[in-house]
Symmetry: C2
């Protein structure tokens, strides 16, 4: 089986949410798996000097418009949550705790968190809300709550973030296919072209 | 005939160059014209706080890689000119001088400048080099040289830049289709989809 696609994202990234709804289907059409890798986008911003989109004149208004328009085109729900953007520490730590048990279950959990946050506009920065999503998947809520406070999973997320930056990741979503980096939701058609044609 | 597509770009923008090689064909397939509108991207950067790509850690290296890769995919020449990025005042002023005479000729001129700069890596910030490209199209070199120094065309470019910003333009390339803004070379497939489907 050819190498899996790495999918880097931040749970507070609208384009990360939009990308998460498509990348597995694109990969599957070409016999590829996708490994989901949440990381802290803020750490990348510190490195690059980039800033949250809505803080930027002109670009903020454009992004807000583009998120809604893209969601409409894809036929998926989108709602900008109150207090956006959240700090996504809680779901990111929980993700890696769950992924150690079961990578597919962690992906299902991430999809639920994304849907709750951007599909329904619910605050997903609170550990209790995150644990409730895990519980819906049959995971023990108390253990997930513990994991989010555990130094081990805090460190794990820090390490995952450092590893992402070391691989050149600076935005969300960010895909790595056959060692080729692709930044942004808008790159998905190009990724599909890459997979189809075996690269250029 | 349906409304023309506005194509905003800076002559020193690699993604602007790459976009310029495709947008007219995409538009023509759907019975649309394209109006080319060079502007000074630096003025937009002042507004948004964005910075030239190569100055940004991680994102700079990515962009360099992505330009070459995209050119390879499209089968077009690409060479990063020495001293990149240039200040594109000279070709931008000349463009508007030529466009007043003949919009199609101005487009042909812009295509020549882009090719000289990013296809061959030649310095196109110098008025003499710009005038030489105009001369190849049968335009009077001396008049083009004069125009680039003329307060009228300096002001014209300032006004065009202010008008672009007033329409929400903050990057290069930037397309406006039926009042819908699309930022970036990667948006071209989406623009095509918009034209095909009549919007979402």
């Amino acid at each position: 089986m050819p190498a899996a696609i790495d999918f880097f994202f931040d749970f507070a990234s609208p384009y990360g949410y939009l990308g998460s709804l498509r990348i597995d289907a694109v990969a599957a059409r070409h016999g590829r798996d996708v490994v989901w890798r949440p990381f802290m986008l803020g750490a990348a911003f510190k490195e690059t000097g980039m800033r949250p989109l809505l803080e930027q004149p002109l670009r903020g208004a454009y992004s807000r418009h583009d998120w809604l328009r893209t969601a409409r085109r894809l036929g998926v729900p989108f709602r900008l949550p109150e207090g956006f953007p959240m700090a996504a520490l809680a779901p990111s730590r929980a993700f890696y705790f769950i992924a150690e048990r079961d990578a597919e279950l962690a992906k299902a959990f991430a999809a639920r968190v994304f849907h709750a946050y951007f599909g329904e506009g619910r605050d997903m920065s609170r550990p209790e809300a995150v644990a409730a999503e895990a519980m819906h998947l049959g995971l023990p809520a108390a253990e997930v709550l513990e994991a989010m406070k555990d130094a081990r999973w805090k460190q794990h997320l820090k390490d995952a973030t450092a590893a992402a930056l070391a691989r050149g990741v600076f935005g969300s979503p960010f895909f790595v296919v056959d060692d080729e980096p692709f930044w942004g939701n808008d790159k998905i058609p190009e990724i599909e072209n890459w997979l189809e044609s075996g690269g250029w």
